[in-house]
């Protein structure tokens, strides 16, 4: 469970302060997967980093219960000069998990073949995302934070991710940010729309889709 209480975040730009998140109050309950829709630049990734704790809000309080993943997606998290398995080892260590088990699982899940033992900087963005997914699936999180998965790998890999999350529904929840409704539909039963620094929740996906179209 993650709770936000009047969370505010602004970025300083040459044109003055840009308010990305404006006093957001929200509760993401346990075992409920939520999709967050937003245009490019709406602050989705910022929100995800604040949920995960990698970034601090300027004001407001974030409360987390259970283990929350880092934001999984294309960007960040891996050292380019180290190989996939070295990166996995590092992450397994900081989460206090069994290193060999994590590496085995991640390798099998990611299906990137020999690249697993090559420097991450030689990966395509799709391969990075595959590795990030494999690795996060190897660690048992209560909440998975996922950043823009629309283009991760081919149909087969997408189906695999969906199946893995469906498999975990009993114990884990997913919070996905995306700018495409189609992605959210695959993983979530609830959705919210982030625009102009505010987050609006909708119980019904169609309602969310309609609201998103109105702002997009």
């Amino acid at each position: 469970m993650i709770e936000l209480r009047s969370v505010t975040k602004a970025y300083r730009t040459r044109a003055g302060d840009h308010l990305v998140l404006n006093k957001i109050d929200a509760v993401f309950p346990e075992r409920v997967s939520v999709g967050i829709l937003g245009k490019n630049g709406a602050g989705k990734s910022t929100l995800l980093r604040i949920l995960g704790g990698a970034e601090q809000p300027d004001a407001g309080v974030v409360t987390r219960k259970g283990r929350v993943s880092w934001p999984i997606g294309f960007a960040g998290g891996f050292n380019g000069s180290l190989s996939g398995d070295e990166n996995c080892r590092f992450v397994a260590r900081i989460y206090g998990a069994d290193v060999d088990e994590v590496v085995d699982f991640a390798e099998r899940f990611a299906e990137i073949g020999e690249y697993f033992r090559m420097p991450v900087r030689t990966y395509s963005s799709g391969m990075r995302a595959r590795l990030a997914f494999g690795l996060s699936m190897a660690l048992d999180f209560d909440t998975y934070l996922v950043d823009e998965v629309t283009a991760v790998g081919d149909q087969t890999f997408q189906a695999k991710c969906q199946a893995a999350f469906a498999d975990r529904q009993e114990r884990s929840s997913v919070i996905i940010v995306s700018h495409q409704m189609a992605t959210i539909r695959k993983y979530c039963a609830h959705a919210a729309v982030l625009s102009d620094g505010r987050l609006h929740f909708y119980d019904d996906l169609d309602e969310a889709a309609a609201a998103y179209e109105a702002v997009a």
Partner: protein, 264 residues
Amino acid sequence: MSATPPAMMNGLTAQVRVIYALALRETRTRFGANNLGYVWALLEPLFWILTFAGFFAVANRSAPGGMEVIPFLATGIITFELVLKTAEKGSQAINGNKALLFYPQVHTLDLILARGALELATYAVVFVIIIGGWSMTVPRVRIDDLLLLMSGLGLAGLLGMGLGLVLCGLNVVSPTVDRIRGPLFRPLFWVSGLFFIPTSLPTSAREYLLYNPILHCIEMVRSGFFPSYHSPLVDSGYVVRWIVALFFVGLTLERRVRHKVQLS
């Protein structure tokens, strides 16, 4: 099956684990197969030691306080390099590792401590290799007080970490800091007692030079190493006060600027 991390992780154990993982990772990136990190760490101090040993020989000078020239220079130069390299690595800890701050349990302080521990271990090995190499050319070597020697190196490492922590915070505010670090530190090479001992200087100069904590670290290392030399002026408590102050300022600064670190 997926691995289950223990649900309740003691905060300290978790942090130790992070620092350990970081240090292993840094070892791979700093000393990876493709770069000559180990070689450089050894060659740089060796170059300075041999250059100045040459100067001493040409000028027909001996080391002060009954010390032999090579270990006199080695104790000074290696301790000095340890402080400066640790500060340098620490000051770049955030910029070189933004990807890591994606993981919320990794803090700036962990990066600095991990890098600092690695530098300390590296220079300890460099010290052993250089002194070991020299010891083969002389009949007998006796280390006077190993604990004092190691405390001197340890404090030098911590001093470097403290400096690195402060510089790292300042770096976030303005990247210029990293550019002026070199020119700012370079004069310290001449006033930290690498080539002299404070007691051989006139009192007026000595008074000012004793404000430099690096000089005290070097004096500690020398007093620990040489049976014939015991610096009467060394003040380890003074170095500890510097370290505490630097960590205090550095951590306060880090809290203030943390939100300015943009991850993407």
